[in-house]
């Protein structure tokens, strides 16, 4: 229901037929609850400019914890005026109340006249309010009204036990919350950062260079805070508040705790470049905030005189590539304790495994010593590519194979290296044993072929085992 409808003396909860009887040409739309919820969320995001602690109060409210924030705006009254003013410029009609408790603010905003309830005057503000201001179910409110209890004061003055017996604990709990006898935590809809720095502009900025310059300045301020704590940031977030109310949030993760402002700037530069048009400045941003969401202890490292000082360069490169392509796309190969070729290596993000210790495997080393060529291929196909191979006898080495429509004559084959699958991981018991051959074709191409299934034991004789190309040697 909008203001115009209110002027026509229509009410919420009125049957549609009654309204149509009064105004036959009344336009009516279905309520879009989902859109309302989204709008409320957007406004909650936008309110982040006042305080990091914002709770949603569906369907139509927001709760802001402005403890310690109000002085930044010149006091509670000014903050409230600023907030309502900005919202009304955005076309919203908002009611606001500032109070010591969430319950009191809720009631005063909806049923009271006052905007600011001074400290310690909660009781005086709540008691004259109608009973519905206690955030209770409509049914209970109606019952209380029939009992002659119209104002909160009527309820507060009476003994508690009969009410608890008749309406349940929740009624009295709400009363206590409103009067500040019980603590009421706000569930924030965004994680509360460990440290933040922000910059407001009188004139909105839109150029990327200006935004990044601001980010660097903020990072410098953040670095001071973090340095005092002996910490560095692992996850940074820039929130860009657009003049029209939209908020863009960009996040970057780092491999090691980071404080250096120019590096933070560089990482966000990559992030912005990767996003491209998704981050449209529109008419500009009027506020930029940099937050360190996750911080970690960061002790200064002693540089060795003889060693290299490139380790930091590498960490920075990983961060930059990660900011552009996503940290999970820059990886290292970690050896695994298994003999199944495709599982013998795990792909781990590089920032999670900064350095892997080289594997010490005596058996493998001895095996290598015997062989002039590598026993494992350089490049592995995942999944293995099926090939058509011919062997002189079904369980002998292949003599030729065709792969990707090319026929290769094998001049040399080494094998088989028999690799059985891990029965303890094989649920259905269908995994076939593989016979691996290292082969060299007449062109010099070296491939790693395998035959799936043991002829005569796992494969019944009329059927022939299938062949796969699993990898290529240099």
């Amino acid at each position: 229901m909008n203001d115009a409808a209110a002027r026509l003396r229509l009410r919420c909860g009125m049957p549609l037929a009654d309204a149509r009887a009064m105004y036959p040409s009344l336009p009516v739309f279905d309520a879009d609850i989902e859109a309302d919820r989204r709008l409320l969320e957007t406004i909650a995001d936008w309110c982040d400019r006042y305080t990091p602690l914002i709770g949603r109060d569906p369907p139509d409210g927001l709760v802001l914890d402005i403890t310690g924030c109000a002085h930044l705006f010149g006091g509670e009254a000014r903050l409230a005026r600023d907030l309502v003013g900005r919202l009304s410029r955005g076309g919203f009609h908002a009611r606001i109340a500032v109070a010591d408790t969430v319950g009191c603010a809720w009631g005063v905003a909806r049923y009271g006249e006052q905007k600011i309830v001074p400290r310690g005057e909660t009781e005086a503000a709540v008691l004259p309010l109608p009973i519905a201001a206690l955030r209770i179910e409509a049914g209970i409110a109606a019952d209380l009204k029939t009992a002659g209890l119209v104002r909160v004061a009527d309820l507060a003055a009476r003994p508690r036990a009969p009410f608890a017996a008749r309406f349940g604990e929740s009624l009295l709990h709400r009363l206590d919350q409103a009067l500040g006898r019980v603590d009421e935590p706000i569930t924030p809809c965004l994680p509360v950062p460990s440290a933040t720095a922000e910059q407001r502009f009188a004139e909105p900025v839109g150029r990327e260079a200006d935004v990044l310059g601001t980010v660097e300045q903020l990072a410098q301020r953040l670095a001071e805070i973090l340095e005092r704590r002996g910490e560095g940031g692992r996850l940074f977030q820039v929130a860009l508040f657009r003049t029209d109310g939209a908020v863009h949030r960009l996040e970057i993760g780092t491999g090691a705790p980071l404080r250096d402002a120019s590096r933070v700037r560089k990482l966000f530069e990559e992030r912005l470049a990767a996003l491209g048009d998704a981050c449209d400045p529109g008419f500009g941003y009027d506020m930029v905030r940099l937050a360190a969401l996750v911080t970690e202890r960061c002790d200064p490292v002693q540089t060795g005189l003889a060693g290299s000082d490139h380790a930091e360069d590498l960490a920075h490169l990983i961060d930059r590539l990660g900011a552009r392509f996503g940290l999970r796309h820059i990886v290292r190969l970690a050896p695994q304790e298994t003999h199944v070729p495709e599982n013998a290596v795990a792909v781990v993000p590089a920032h999670a495994a900064p350095s892997l210790s080289p594997r010490v495997d005596k058996d493998a080393e001895n095996l290598e010593q015997d062989s002039l060529s590598a026993t494992r291929p350089l490049r592995l196909f995942e999944p293995p590519e099926p090939v058509e191979a011919t062997a002189e006898v079904p369980d002998g080495p292949p003599v030729q194979f065709s792969w990707r429509r090319m026929k290769h004559r094998i001049v040399q084959a080494e094998g088989p290296e028999r690799i059985a699958m891990e029965w303890w991981r094989d649920d259905r018991g269908h995994a076939l044993t593989r016979d691996y051959f290292r082969v060299e074709s007449s062109d010099g191409m070296r491939a790693w072929l395998y035959r799936e299934g043991l002829y005569g034991r796992e494969i019944e004789p009329p059927a022939l085992p299938r062949w796969f190309l699993h990898g290529l040697f240099a």
């Binding site: 590498l314 290292r332 970690a334 494992r376 291929p377 290292r438 191409m445």
Partner: protein
């Protein structure tokens, strides 16, 4: 925090130390670092494959892609032996087309997985961008980038940029193409690579990885064609003995044992 100033001080101190005791000092001045490919090729290249430059490799036929990338990786492994890591950049398409790098195989080939970083990107333009970033980083001994498509993404301008980046970072820039490209390229050397039949070991097993290298462009000297093999134990290239490339020997059912094998 004065990190730049302290880094400069450290550099001066290291140089002073190197003057007193050469073993304590930093490695060779970056401009002079070269990777040796064996005497005949080194002579043509003016001392070896120069670091701080861009080099291009392409297989003469699609089936030799593993040889081309193997040759580039062997060079990167050589460059990484004095310190630094290797970055391999490839698209998902390149991985499905030519196979992904395999840790145990790389380990045996001479490049420990602990020294290898792998970046997976989705577009060819990203490969080039990441390669430029990687080449600028002084912590990397080499950057291997794999390009599947035609030269659109890595023309003269792009390769020129990469060359400048390589000069800045002093690492080895290795561009592996999936096919030979006639279009001009600013790389210092361009190689056409094929796998050559290997010399079998003493027991008749597969021999060392052999490469048939054609140097098609060389800024510093003549081009040419050589056969070399990669000794992954010593982590060095050796010229193949000329008799070993006689193809006729491979058609015999029983091989003639050769001197110096095994």
């Amino acid at each position: 925090m004065g990190t730049a100033a302290s880094a400069a001080t450290l550099r001066h101190l290291r140089e002073a130390l190197a003057g007193i005791d050469p073993s304590m000092g930093p490695r060779l001045p970056d401009g002079e670092r070269q990777v040796s490919l064996g005497a005949p090729i080194d002579a043509a290249l003016g001392g070896g494959l120069a670091c701080g430059m861009l080099h291009e490799f392409a297989p003469i036929a699609p089936m030799h892609l593993a040889a081309a990338s193997g040759f580039a990786l062997a060079l990167a492994a050589c460059a990484a032996r004095v310190g630094g890591e290797v970055l391999w950049i490839a698209t998902g398409f390149a991985r499905s087309e030519g196979g992904g790098p395999y840790g145990p195989g790389l380990d045996q080939f001479g490049l420990a997985p602990a020294r290898l970083l792998i970046l997976r990107v989705s577009r060819a333009a990203d490969v080039l961008w990441a390669m430029e970033e990687g080449l600028r980083c002084r912590a990397l001994a080499g950057v291997v980038a794999e390009l599947t498509g035609d030269g659109e993404a890595a023309g003269l301008t792009a390769t020129r940029r990469l060359t400048l980046a390589a000069r800045e970072g002093a690492g080895l820039g290795l561009l592996v193409r999936h096919r030979i490209l006639a279009a001009p390229c600013a790389a210092a050397t361009r190689w056409a690579v094929a796998a050559a039949p290997s010399r079998p070991d003493a027991y008749g097993g597969l021999g060392r990885a052999n490469f048939d290298l054609s140097l098609r462009k060389n800024r510093r000297g003549p081009s040419g064609r050589w056969f070399i093999e990669w000794d992954h134990h010593a982590c060095a290239f050796q010229p193949t003995v000329s008799v070993a490339v006689a193809a006729a020997a491979f058609d015999r059912p029983d091989r003639t044992p050769m001197a110096g094998t095994g």
